[in-house]
Amino acid sequence: MRQKTPSTVAIGFAAALLAAGPALAQQKVKIGFITTLSGPQGVVGEYMRNSVELALDHLGRKMAGLDVEVIYGDDQVKPDVGKQVADEMLKKHQVDFVAGIIWSNVMLAVAPTVTDAGKFMIGTNAGPHELAGKMCNELFFTTSWQNDDTPEAMGKVMQDQGITDVYVMAPNYAAGKDMVNGFKRSYKGRIVDEVYTRLGQTDYQAELSQLRSKNPKAVFVFYPGGMGISFLRQYSEAGLRGQFPLYSVYTVDEISIPAVKHAALGQYETRYWSPDLKNPANQKYVADYRKKYGKMPVFYGAQSYDGILLIDSAVRAVKGKLSDKKGMVAAMKKADFASTRGKFSYNTNHFPIQNFYLLKTVTGPAGQDPVMEIQKTVFTNHKDSYAKECPMK
């Protein structure tokens, strides 16, 4: 074997430097986080952003030794704006992951944009049925649920209680339809009427008058974010609270309770998560969130917190080598992180297989707002109904 000359050593060294070049430039994990930060629904985005920041605090703002940079974007509840924001994140900021998104119609516009660009889309709220079924994608994961899941659980609760003659209301967009479909999958009784209102509507008086004239036995609604605050308040103002029992999904939560206070007492919701869920990750999340922001966290936040931890688990598994997409997909499929909902697994369509609980709003500690408490488990290890349409195995 010939002895190496100094020049070959130099060339070898230079080659090593060049090889390390991209790794050096890639010193950061870049995450684009899209949510709604303006308007009546902006209140939801604030909880999500806070939870992302809290997750980063817990991770020491590093993933596998790499610095993390999160770029926040506001979708204004508009699919076209969401897509523009995603395009900007992909092209200008060169993000590795896009995460967040509250609204299913925005998600349906953004997710294909991101996965077509070969980047990861980590949903932390919206779960439209298309993405769980035919449009499922290797690079799409969600830390939330499929839209139909939660109303399916509520439908089962109402079916089991023998409730009939239900009046159904939801906003007129992708998730509104999913929610009602999910509800009807497990509730088999009579539906008095199905009313869809404009997404983002703030005045429901005309619809409430209509509801009263139909005299149903119970009411089922889906009014997320700011819509829920307006709806609950007006339901109460119109004197319907005493007349028709109200069952809801994504309407009474830690966002609407401080705004409507006693108007939420006694309300039932179904959900995959609750602040009183007993596991160490959740207790730490809830306690630190309250300490840092002085408020109770909400499920939108827990999902977003989980989303950042999911990304972290993948980045750690490939030791910071972000070009290893296959490795990261394999790592994410394991859901190997301390989720605020406790241990769960991923289905073939990259939607969680998880429990759903019945929650009730009860009086909080003296002088404080009411709180939500788990009453019982409705579904154990529940799978969504669309996974079989997804070609991924």
């Binding site: 209140v43 007129n172 005045d203 008086q205 008058s209 004239s213 700011g226 103002e237």
Partner: protein, 306 residues
């Protein structure tokens, strides 16, 4: 369809109508008298809502919040007239549209800077929340009844001021022939400033009353402004009477449309078709109405000067 439901929906329509009237009254006066197209009228609606909410939270008294909010909007309106709009009276409408659109952006950003982009949910004091039982089985929110009462009272007051007082006479005279009124020794500029300020205050009143029903947020004024333009086109530009009629027509048409178009379609079409067409048709209704009025009476239903 029962009678109570129609009555209740009519009350809902009336409530929306008086809100639209409060907005339209100021806008139509400014347009009719000063010949100024003011797109920024919605900004006063927003300013009123923010100021009243701010003062309510600061003082703890709802009434004080309302009064200070009104006074504040009046001052802001007068300031805007003195600083910006005064220079626009002699310019073309296009210049006015551009300048007042700039004001919209200015006010929305200002509100976002001071109070943030997230919406503010205001609460009502206990004596205004809850409902009253109008008839057996017909419960109606108390606050909405108060809005209707305030709106109708303001309409009556406006009619009195414009038709029966010296100020109203000057306003009408200024609208007919500005040069002649000025030649008679009336300070027309001051008159304009005053009218503009009160128009702004009326918009502010609508805004602060809408706060507890809708939400207080940057850009809230533009959401209602489009409907207000429909109102003054239907009613006739420059006419208070027209603004009242237009507002009530639009309020009723919009509310009754939302409530009854879908069930009525369902009796003719299939349920699915009605579900799709109903909400779409209901949201188009007021614009269809405007198109019909424009085709039959291009000056509006109650033109200011016939």
């Amino acid at each position: 369809m029962n009678l109570f439901l129609v009555l209740e929906q009519a009350l809902n329509g009336l409530q929306l109508g008086v809100m639209l009237f409060l907005m339209a009254a100021g806008l139509t006066l400014v347009f009719g008298i000063m010949n100024l197209v003011n797109l920024a009228h919605g900004s006063f609606y927003m300013v009123g809502a923010y100021l009243a909410t701010y003062f309510y939270q600061a003082t703890g008294s709802y009434l004080l919040g309302v009064l200070l909010g009104l006074a504040g909007t009046l001052v802001v309106g007068i300031a805007v007239e003195l600083v910006a709009l005064r220079t626009l009276y002699e310019r073309e409408h296009l210049d006015q549209v551009l300048a007042t659109f700039g004001l919209i952006l200015f006010f929305n950003e200002l509100a976002a800077m001071i109070w943030g982009r997230a919406a503010i949910y205001t609460t009502l004091p206990d004596y205004l929340s809850g409902h009253v039982e109008l008839f057996a089985g017909l419960r109606y929110p108390l606050y909405r009844l108060v809005i209707i009462a305030v709106g109708l009272a303001v309409a009556g007051l406006l009619w009195f001021v414009v038709a029966r007082t010296r100020l109203g006479m000057l306003i009408r005279a200024g609208a007919s022939n500005r040069a002649m009124v000025a030649a008679l020794g009336v300070n027309v500029r001051r008159l304009y400033t005053l009218v503009f300020g009160f128009g702004a205050a009326l918009a502010g009143l609508a805004g602060l009353m809408s706060g507890p029903i809708h939400v207080v947020q940057p850009g809230m004024g533009e959401l209602i402004l489009i409907e207000v333009f429909v109102v003054i086109v239907i009613g006739g530009i420059g006419s208070i009477r027209g603004a009242l009629a237009g507002a009530l027509i639009v309020g009723m048409a919009d509310t009754l449309g939302r409530a009854f178009v879908r069930p009525m379609l369902a009796t003719v079409l299939s349920t699915t078709a009605a579900d799709t067409a109903g909400p779409a048709l209901a949201s188009m209704l007021i614009y269809l109405l405007m198109a019909i009025v424009l085709a039959l009476k291009p000056q509006g239903l109650f033109p200011a000067r016939s």
